[in-house]
Structure formats: structure tokens, C-alpha cells
Symmetry: C2
Subunit: 295 residues, 2 copies
């Protein structure tokens, strides 16, 4: 299969959903403008694409859960806006563009993040988007997404990440940060498909194992790229982890061992879905891509 | 009826729910600590109490929707933490205590707000909390709460409020700010009861009119208190609106006319539920209280 074509088609679906959804005017206009600035700043849409691919791997039709998959990107985008704030990572660049607060100011950036997070749940709870999804499966999905995003997931990972700056790296803390900060939302991305589809437990567990492994690998690769990537390829400042002494894989294991770990994780991800049909080929290709990516 | 006793009982129910819900340990501990610092900083629990009272006015049993009512307080608390940030209102005091960022630092305060907002949806989507509520009514409730809190509600009001500092006040903008910044969440507070209870449209509309009027009055009284209250009673810095030239009712209409407007709104609120039984007495008493409150 042609992964580039596949992801391109899915990105168009997702972006089309966002364009339709946000076509309505809102007052004051600057809030929607700030939200869309970051939403359309060149994100790869990895989370919603994973959600659609996992749903297809269960035998579903991507269009049926497009709104719910897209909601994940709103949550991801909010987290980037808040992470970049002066009080947090204080980043000026994201995907090669000025960060949200550099364009709209800190107050509006905080509020644009808040509104993106909130809008994700407006979309998720909107029954008009799909008659094909049962309300109990949808509530389960909302609960999983919220759990993965907050106190027991992404936000906890971000707090631990901050607390660990300038500390000697240890495996347990590093694993916690990665599992929560990036892993939780990536894991839930592949789970919402089988949950919404009503898949059996074995299918859900196989996809969850895939999600845990690629989520883990994703962050290891991110850490590696911060060391051996360059600012132009990354679209964000390379070496920024080292600058603030972040707890990363290369710091704990060195570059070579980190690359091995990432490779092993991707192998495990693919093994966990080896018994799936060719409907899972996009998931297999995405796993390979996540290992080889340069940004 | 004894309003003080009623609200005291309801506050104990709500605080008990929070204590049970947050009894679990979370890592890193500081995140939950920062969330609970603001959650237990002496809030009056007006939104969840309104939700419980409106549910009772429909004939429901408050305990059945306690988690959903309490979720509103998490959203309210997150909004206060973010509003107080240096980039926004830059307030050092809230309810007589140092604001969240003064105690935990800006980064943790932003993230504690994010986590409170997110946790509201974890609770709302959790089917284990009540078997008595239908999943479709629950999804409708989640969507209403999210809509009232984000781009089409509270966050929009906050952005407009910031944009209007140092501008000449006009009725349309002032009305927009109040309707969105405070009004939307207060309105939804009285709507979730009838929605979850499955009330008829006429009941929902009467309670909504009550909610719109008290929501509007609440903010007018807030504006008045900022002028004629004092810092000790308020628990926050009196005169802070004037300091930054906020768009307020007293600035547009003067104090006396503002008091008349608030009085008329409370009268309208009570009229809209005049045909309800004595089950709606708490709502009637709350309306009177909101007019007379000194903080």
C-alpha cells in the first residue's frame, strides 16, 4: 500500500471536517482565529489518522467516526499551545511557525487552548454526527479520551516532565513521563475505533498493545530527533531538551541504545496485530513510518 | 424554607463527592494538590447547587445527578484559575486566599486548570455514577455543558472581556460579555436537571428563563460589588474592574440603575417559575439571595 497517499487522503478528510465544523462565525472572531491558527499550522494528524486506521482495521468505515477522530487533534493542538507558553517550555517556534502566544499574546493563547479542549468534547457528545455509533460506546469513548488527557494522563505527564528538568534521569520517571505525556493520547487514538465499533476484547487488546508500543516508540524517537535532528527539519528548536536538561532517552541510554529501543517497540507493535487482515496494513506502515520519521 | 440549611446540606453533598472522587492517589501529587487547593478554597458551589435545586424542582432526587452537578464546579474552578493568571487578570487574591499561580507557580496553575476542565468530562461520561440517567440525555447534557464553556460560551466571554478593557462601554458588548462569561454556565446549571430528568419542553423553557435571568443578575451584582463592596467581604481585590477599566454595568448605567436592573431580573426569574410547586422554593430563595449577596 501507498502510505503517503493513504495519509494524504485521511488528512484531507480530517481537514475537511474541521473546515466544515468551524465555518460558522463566532464572536469575538480572534478566538476562533487563534484556535484555527494552531489547528492548521501543519500538524501531521497522526492521532486522528491512527483512530481512523484502527477503526478500518476492525472492519469499520472511516467516515463513520471522523468527528470523534478529529476531536483528538483538537486536544493534541490545545496541549501544544499550552506547552509552548512562556511559563512552560517557552518555545517561539512550532512546525516552523511562530507559536500561538507569539502571534496572539499569552492570554489569548491560553484561552484558545482552553476552547480547543472544550470543543473536542462538544464534538464528541454531538449525536448528530453519527447515528451508527451507540450512545453507551460513545460515552465510554468520551470517558477514555478525557481520562487519557487529564489528571491520569497527558497533563500529569507534562507536570512530571517539568518537575524532572535538571534531575538525574531514571528509568521509572522517564517511563512515567512518556507513558502519560504522549503515550496516553496515542493509545486512546487506536482504542476509540474498536470501542465505537463494539469490537471484542481480544481485538481491543491487540490494538491497545499496538498503541502502547507505538506511543512509547514515538516519544523515544522524539527524544532522539531533539539530539540528532536539526531545527529546519523539525520545525521547532533542536536541542531544546538538552538546554533545559529534560529527562530523555538519549540522556539515560545514549543515542544508539535509544534507537534499538525504538526499533524493538515498533517490532512489538507490528507483532501485536500480525494476525489482523490487510485492513490493518495502514497501521503496519504507520508503525514503520514513526520509526523512520525525521520530524 | 431555610436557605442557609439547604445550601449547607447541598454543599456537604458536593464536597463529599469531591472528597470521595479525589481520594485516589495520582502522580505527580502536586497536580491533584493544586487542583484541590482551588476546588476547596471556599467556593459557594452556586452552579452545582442550582443544578441540584432545578432537578428537585422537576421532581428528581438530588443524589441521582450529584456527579454531573459537581462537574460544573470543576469547570467553574478551572475558569477562575486561568482568569487569575498574570497574563489575564493578574489577581493575587481569590476568596481571601492567594491565587493558584501564587502558590504553585504559573505552569502548574495552567495545568491544574486544564486538568480540572478535563476531569469534568471524565466524570460526566462515567456511566458508573448513575444507572438512572439515560445515555442519550447524558450525551445531550455533556454537549450543552461543553458548548456553554468554550468557543460559544464562557471562553468567548472572557476573550471579549479582555478586548473591551479601556473601551467606552456599550450595551451590546456588555450584554455579550455577561451572557457568555458568566451567564452561559449558570444557564446550563439549571438546564442539566430537566435534561437529565427528561422533562417536557415547557418545564425546560421555564427553568431556562429562570437561568438566563439569574445569570444576568449575577453578573450585574458582581459588577456592583466590585464598586461598592470591600476587599475583606469580597475575598478578592475590590475596585479591580475600575483599575483596568473593565466594561461593567455601573460604568454604563451608574450604581442606582444597575441595582434596579438586577432587581428586575430577579423578579423575572421568580415569575418564570411561579407556576412550579414548592419543590422550586430553593430556586426562589436562591434568586433572592443572589440579589442580596455581599460577596
Amino acid at each position: 500500500m501507498d502510505l503517503k497517499k493513504y495519509t494524504q487522503e485521511k488528512r484531507e478528510l480530517i481537514d475537511g471536517f474541521f473546515r466544515d465544523y468551524f465555518v460558522r462565525e463566532f464572536n469575538p472572531p480572534v478566538l476562533k482565529e487563534a484556535m484555527l491558527y494552531s489547528l492548521f499550522a501543519g500538524g501531521k494528524r497522526i492521532r486522528p489518522i491512527l483512530a481512523l486506521a484502527a477503526y478500518e482495521a476492525c472492519g469499520g468505515d472511516a467516515g463513520d467516526i471522523l468527528p470523534y477522530a478529529s476531536a483528538l487533534e483538537l486536544i493534541h493542538t490545545y496541549s501544544l499551545i499550552h506547552d509552548d507558553l512562556p511559563a512552560m517550555d517557552n518555545d517561539d517556534l512550532r512546525r516552523g511557525k511562530p507559536t500561538n502566544h507569539k502571534v496572539y499574546g499569552e492570554a489569548t493563547a491560553i484561552l484558545a487552548g482552553d476552547a480547543l479542549l472544550t470543543e473536542a468534547f462538544t464534538i464528541l457528545a454531538d449525536r448528530s454526527f453519527s447515528a451508527k455509533v451507540g450512545p453507551d460506546n460513545l460515552l465510554k469513548t468520551i470517558m477514555e479520551i478525557a481520562t487519557a488527557s487529564g489528571l491520569g494522563g497527558m497533563v500529569a505527564g507534562q507536570v512530571q516532565d517539568m518537575l524532572s528538568e535538571n534531575k538525574a534521569p531514571d528509568e521509572e520517571t522517564l517511563s512515567f513521563i512518556h507513558k502519560h505525556k504522549t503515550g496516553a493520547l496515542l493509545l486512546v487514538s487506536v482504542r476509540i475505533g474498536p470501542i465505537l465499533f463494539g469490537s471484542d476484547n481480544a481485538t481491543l487488546e491487540s490494538l491497545s498493545e499496538y498503541g502502547r508500543c507505538i506511543g512509547h516508540a514515538f516519544q523515544v524517537v522524539d527524544d532522539i530527533l531533539d539530539v540528532d535532528g536539526n531545527t529546519e527539519e523539525l520545525g521547532k528548536t533542536a536541542g531544546s531538551d538538552e538546554k533545559v536538561n529534560k529527562m530523555t532517552y538519549p540522556r539515560l541510554y545514549g543515542l544508539e541504545r535509544s534507537r534499538e529501543i525504538a526499533g524493538d517497540l515498533i517490532h512489538r507493535a507490528k507483532t501485536s496485530i500480525a494476525h489482523f487482515s490487510s485492513d490493518a496494513d495502514p497501521l503496519r506502515e504507520i508503525a514503520d513510518y514513526l520509526l523512520k520519521r525525521r520530524n
